[in-house]
Symmetry: C2
Subunit: 213 residues, 2 copies
């Protein structure tokens, strides 16, 4: 089994802070994620800058697209995004549009199950449509209310779909190994790194934990 990938969520709103944090953690992570508030604040230029600075890292643009899938996602793939996200709560035509845009750039589409009631049904339908990654995701506002993504991970992993599974929602050093063992092929970390005294040291520690999982 391939080792799991680590994705770093860049959640600042500031262009330079985002570039600086990426620089610190890049040696230890596989995917640099431009978070939704960050991409909305900074626009597609940030994708270009991050891609130029880190040509050997995967770039995920967390668009959380809800409509106009192909139209919205295309410029971000063309700017160097390797993965873009679309909401599982969106119309299936919107999900299909992002998958089409991804395939046109030899890139990947991730369907984010945040806020979806029938997670198993949407995941199966999206996989059938050609989605590359299913994102099991407890949002920041839901985390603040005490929720976690782990039960949903078990549900989705149990479906045996031909997709990679990404898990996000407050993962830290205490939960990252069990998340990988439960079937996550991409683990997303954010606050566990950028909230640490040394983001680089924290990223290095998480890398070791994932590689040993």
């Amino acid at each position: 089994m391939a080792k799991a990938l680590i994705q770093m969520a860049l959640d600042s709103l500031d262009f330079d802070v985002t570039m600086g944090l990426a620089e610190q953690v890049a040696p230890y992570v596989d995917i640099l994620e431009i978070g939704t508030p960050c991409i909305k604040a900074n626009g597609v230029e940030l994708v270009k800058a991050l891609n130029a600075a880190h040509p050997n890292k995967l770039i995920l643009v967390d668009l959380k697209t809800m409509d106009a899938g192909e139209y919205e996602a295309t410029p971000f793939y063309e700017a160097g995004g390797d993965i873009a996200t679309v909401l599982g709560a969106a119309d299936m035509a919107t999900i299909g549009g992002v998958i089409k845009a991804a395939n046109a750039s030899n890139a990947e589409a991730q369907v984010d199950l945040i806020g979806v009631n029938d997670k198993a049904g949407v995941a199966a339908a999206a996989a059938k449509m050609g989605a590359h990654i299913i994102g099991v995701h407890t949002g920041l506002d839901a985390q603040a209310a005490g929720q976690t993504p782990f039960a949903d991970l078990n549900t989705i992993a149990g479906l045996g779909l031909d997709v990679r599974i990404s898990v996000a929602g407050g993962i830290n050093k205490d939960t990252i190994q069990s998340t990988v063992q439960a079937g996550a092929t991409i683990v997303v970390v954010g606050a566990a790194i950028y909230g640490a005294d040394s983001p680089a040291d924290s990223a290095k520690e998480l890398r070791a934990l994932v590689d040993a999982a």
Copy 2:
């Protein structure tokens, strides 16, 4: 009864095209909307530029926020946005966060019912939470499949909530008056204007129709 407002959806991905189209139609519309793909591509600088060029127009930023409501919306209100949107499909805590951010800037939050199954229930809950505007919205991908927002407008208008109702989804000169008569206080037009030979002439025509409705 106050006259209905006209909102122009600026759906280009290009900064300069967006500024140019706004300039053409501004004399005839009340609200300049920065569409979701446009804000993601261009970032918050576009809000500042549009606000500086049109200080007497309302600026709507179609964020379609799904998580981290207060955090994501705040910079757009601070940049001059008068209205920001949040998805009705989001967690109620996220909707509450955008409302909080709006109130902190003496601005408004619009809850977009796109993709929501229980539209009446979400509209009522959002209104109770303090949402200023409810958006009845058939997305571009759903419009391509032949859907319209008019049945949903009747449902939401029938609730008698203490909110304004915005309607979007392929409204044109043939449907704009009946949309206002059915209870829309904001009518959103996009393709009917930017797809016309003369966007300014089309906007002028729609203005006359709304004012006579």
